[in-house]
């Protein structure tokens, strides 16, 4: 190996992904592809069949041969809590059952077929209790189903967390009374399943060094933290590594702690390695989903459309345990005001407990729910005023120097106008709107039953942890000099498909002068890599990437200094340094000084910067079948600096299609707290035929503290948009100051479109109807 090229310029180029070849020849090892360890067992979970109840007994069928089955129950768990934020969730339920699919018994056996029979030979004796299954029932506190751990929630109620954001005039109702136009609306959004194509899975084993886990994991240090608490081990006796991971989207952020604890409990009791891989139904039923949300919005503006006041109440359904809900609610509330100037703001946010599986992290993390509400509300205000929604949005758009709802002055990297105008002009928005109106008139005259529509959204997403989060988190990264002038990057930031390892190599290459092919990326593992903070919150490139850049620059400079002193090539100089001992640079993230945040008042700089995006959709709707086809889709998205432009396109387009799927076809059907469609057959995600052709323009408004010349976080951004339905599926008759809008595809009815009824639902259990061809292939 040698690395003599003094400079590298790979940032800004679309180099192929460094893990790409292994993925296209089939040698990339995902967790279920890992070779069997000697003596390995399979593990399965016996789960609660009801939403709420009291577990009286667990009975094991005496006619079944249990001799080679390992059984783990709550009594076997050293400290029976899953350590996330609060410690309210048991690793295994003992008496209280708080949601359907709650884990109760773990079983392991070498023979998978016998294990499946063993699962059926476990009988749970449960007294059912009345469950609480929706936000409004929970909020009434008539049936309190959650007990607040210390420091969390309101005692004696179902309320888990509250926030309040205020700005401007103290009396918002008086401010509304002073406004020429006041519009109210309620906007509710439904759950969404991440549906990563690789289900959750881990392999766990114990040896003299302690506990080992390898798995499909976004955040190895989350699992590490859970093991510290549950097993009471010393930190260095816990080894958590990531296998190649087949998508996460937040779904593998906090949940893997549970499956890893379960596999490790079985492994500990059996003394054998245990492999636990969920099948699709179990994955959909038991793991986290996007929080359902209800937003009540009342706004006031002048007769000319100038916005004056926003009053909003955000309600989220946390599910049965806290998990990450306080943080999801926080991000939701911090994005609730959208991209608009509001002199006066009052946003109240409440998360409540229900007897449903805990909701958790999913790309966007609360923001897609509230941004959908504010964008639909702006459409309703525009309809009331009789103006084009995009004119109203443009008129009130936040620009550099403006102040957000938390009082944050937007200082830098504000590309709202560039994105809005870029998106609208690329899509020929105004022109197409006229053309489609004419076409719709012609179709109506011809008696045709399909109509066309165009709509746009503008939104922003804060990158990195909220407020002082990054300062408290103290994310770290390390780089090592290798013999021959190469480098190795060590971070806990996982590549779950988004391209971390490629982009980090690009950043390190330009910063050090070492060619990319001489830069190694260590498998994220708690034994090898420092805690960089979790792979979440659109922070990987912007935050951890900037630490990598700093480490690489320092190592590169040290070797070049040695080269200047002693001559020879970069590699020779590096090798001379290595003769004196290892050369490693370990650095901690230093947030920009200007970030000031007050967690008690929820005022200040919520994020160091925001990424911005405008998207424009053209749809065709069949008025009889109500099939919706997305015909064209334009994106103008600001990434700060595109380290790898094609990967940026992949992030923006992929996130947008997840948002489109949420709007048009993805819907869980619940009955009595159980999921009736836990399958890809009837939880319908978009296929290549359902997806529109995307035309995506990258906008670059560099963030001066970002790596590679100003990169910002964009992972979550596209999920905030993409869900425009135009004309909106609400009741809003022109000129009405009141609207109701529900997001589930099954709420999208002909009557709603005809403007006759507010929120008619289809009969319970009816399926979303988007054309899907994924069921069309027959086998052999």
């Amino acid at each position: 190996m040698q690395a003599d090229k003094p400079d590298s310029h790979v940032v800004g180029t679309s180099v192929g992904r460094s893990d790409g070849v292994a993925k296209v020849v089939g040698t990339a090892r995902y967790v279920d592809d890992l070779p069997k360890r000697p003596g390995e067992l399979h593990g399965v979970t016996v789960r609660a069949p009801v939403a709420r109840g009291t577990l009286r007994a667990v009975k094991f069928d005496p006619s079944f041969d249990w001799s080679d089955i390992t059984v783990v129950q709550a009594a076997d768990v050293p400290t029976n809590v899953v350590a996330v934020i609060a410690y309210d969730q048991p690793v295994l339920a003992s008496t209280a059952i708080n949601h359907a699919y709650e884990p109760i018994v773990l079983l392991a056996c070498a023979d998978r077929a016998k294990l499946a029979r063993a699962k059926l030979a476990v009988h749970l004796d449960i007294d059912p209790l009345e469950p609480v299954l929706d936000i409004q029932t929970s909020l009434s506190d008539q049936n309190v189903v959650w007990s607040a751990p210390d420091g969390f929630g309101d005692k004696g109620t179902n309320v888990m967390k509250r926030y309040l954001i205020t700005k401007g005039e103290a009396d918002v109702d008086a401010e509304h009374a002073r406004c020429a136009r006041v519009v109210s609306g309620t906007y509710s959004t439904h759950q969404q399943e991440q549906l990563y194509i690789e289900p959750q899975g881990v392999v766990a084993w114990w040896d003299d060094d302690g506990a080992h886990v390898i798995g499909s994991i976004q955040c190895p240090y989350y699992v590490h933290k859970a093991f510290l608490k549950t097993f009471g081990l010393d930190a260095e006796r816990i080894d958590i590594s990531q296998a190649v991971t087949g998508g996460g989207f937040g779904g593998k952020e906090e949940y893997p702690s549970i499956i890893a604890l379960h596999a490790a409990l079985l492994a500990k009791k059996s003394g054998r390695p245990v492999r636990m891989i969920y099948d699709r139904a179990e994955d959909i039923e038991a793991t986290t989903k996007r929080h359902p949300c209800e937003c009540e919005v009342t706004t006031g503006c002048d007769a000319d459309g100038t916005l004056r006041v926003l009053k909003m109440r955000v309600l989220m359904d946390a599910g049965a345990y806290v998990t990450l809900t306080p943080v999801v609610l926080s991000r939701g509330v911090l994005h609730a005001a959208g991209t608009y100037r509001w002199p006066t703001v009052q946003i109240e946010a409440i998360a409540v407990a229900t007897n449903t599986p805990p909701n958790g992290a999913f790309r966007g993390f609360g923001a897609p729910q509230t941004i959908w509400a504010i964008e639909r509300h702006m459409d309703a205000v525009a309809a009331y005023l009789g103006v084009d929604p995009m004119d109203l949005k443009r008129q009130n758009l936040l620009v550099e120097g403006d102040t957000t709802a938390t009082g944050q002055v937007l200082r830098m990297s504000v590309s709202s106008t560039a994105c809005l105008e870029g998106g609208l002009s690329a899509a020929r928005y105004a022109e197409r709107k006229r053309e489609l109106d004419l076409e719709n008139q012609a179709r109506a005259q011809r008696g045709e039953r399909k109509r066309l529509g165009i709509g746009a959204s503008i939104f922003m997403h804060g990158a990195g942890f909220t407020g002082s989060g990054e300062r408290m988190l103290k994310g770290k990264a390390a780089l090592d000099l290798l013999p021959g002038g190469g480098l190795r990057i060590r971070t806990a930031s996982t590549d779950i498909g988004q391209g971390t390892e490629t982009v980090f190599r690009q950043i390190a290459s330009d910063a050090s002068g070492v060619p990319m092919e001489h830069i190694d990326f260590a498998v994220p593992s708690t034994k090898v890599c420092p805690d960089s903070g979790p792979t979440v919150a659109s922070r990987t490139v912007m935050v951890v990437g900037s630490i990598v850049e700093r480490c690489a620059r320092e190592i590169g400079d040290a070797v070049k200094a040695e080269q200047a002193r002693g001559g020879g090539s970069f590699a020779q100089a590096g090798d001379r340094l290595l003769t004196k001992g290892p050369v490693t640079v370990l650095r901690q993230y230093e947030p920009p000084d200007f970030v000031k945040w007050d967690d008690t008042t929820y005022k200040g700089d919520a994020y160091p910067c925001f990424a911005w995006m405008c998207d424009v959709a053209e749809l065709e709707v069949d008025l009889d079948t109500f099939e919706v086809e997305v015909k064209r889709f334009h994106i103008a998205g600001d990434v700060g600096k595109a380290i790898n432009p094609k990967m940026c396109l992949g992030q923006l387009e992929g996130g947008t299609l997840q948002a489109i799927g949420w709007a048009l076809s993805e819907e869980l059907v619940w009955r009595d707290g159980l999921i009736k469609n836990p399958r890809i057959t009837n939880y319908i995600v978009p296929t290549a035929l359902d997806a529109p052709p995307f035309e995506t323009a990258l906008v670059e408004a560099p963030f001066e503290f970002g790596p590679g010349g100003g990169a910002k976080g964009i992972g979550e951004l596209p999920m905030d948009g993409g869900r425009r339905r135009s004309p909106p599926p609400s009741s809003t008759p022109p000129g009405s100051p009141c609207t109701t809008c529900r997001s589930p595809p099954s709420a999208f009815t002909p009557r709603a479109w005809a403007g006759r009824s507010a929120n008619d639902n289809l009969p319970e259990g009816s399926q979303p109807r988007v054309d899907s061809t994924q069921a069309q292939r027959s086998a052999a």
Binding site: K23, D32, G246, L689, A779
Partner: protein, 158 residues
Amino acid sequence: MLIRLKLNGQLREVDTAPMRRLLDVLREELELTGTKEGCGEGECGTCTVLLDGEVVNACMVVIGQCDGRDVVTVEGLGSEAHLLPIQKTFVTEGGAQCGICTPGMLISAEALLRRNASPTDEQIREALAGNLCRCTGYERIVASVRAAALARSSGGAS
């Protein structure tokens, strides 16, 4: 039951219960883990392989049906040193992200290009509609297939 099949161009024998899924026999006995399981019910296309040149879901085919037949998995496309154009372009054009759908996607795409050297975007989308991808939004996948068609027709083949 002793099953003889041609697997990725080589004759292989496997002695197993005839009702086992082709997917499991490929991944376990034959140690070809490139073919993945995403749903187990023929919906996601992650386990797509070629059976006598036809695109099938290996989770919906039993091994007993494969006796005397020709099976191609992702390992039977190009090797690291000799990538097919479709494998190259999935790397260069961003068709692969997390990669879990990639083996099945490549099989479907290669089957398309073998029967249609210059497909339209609509034909590409139709050919891949049985393969779910949750990462890309499909635009980069369509671009990858388009680029591979171009590379094949301009002689840039393996």
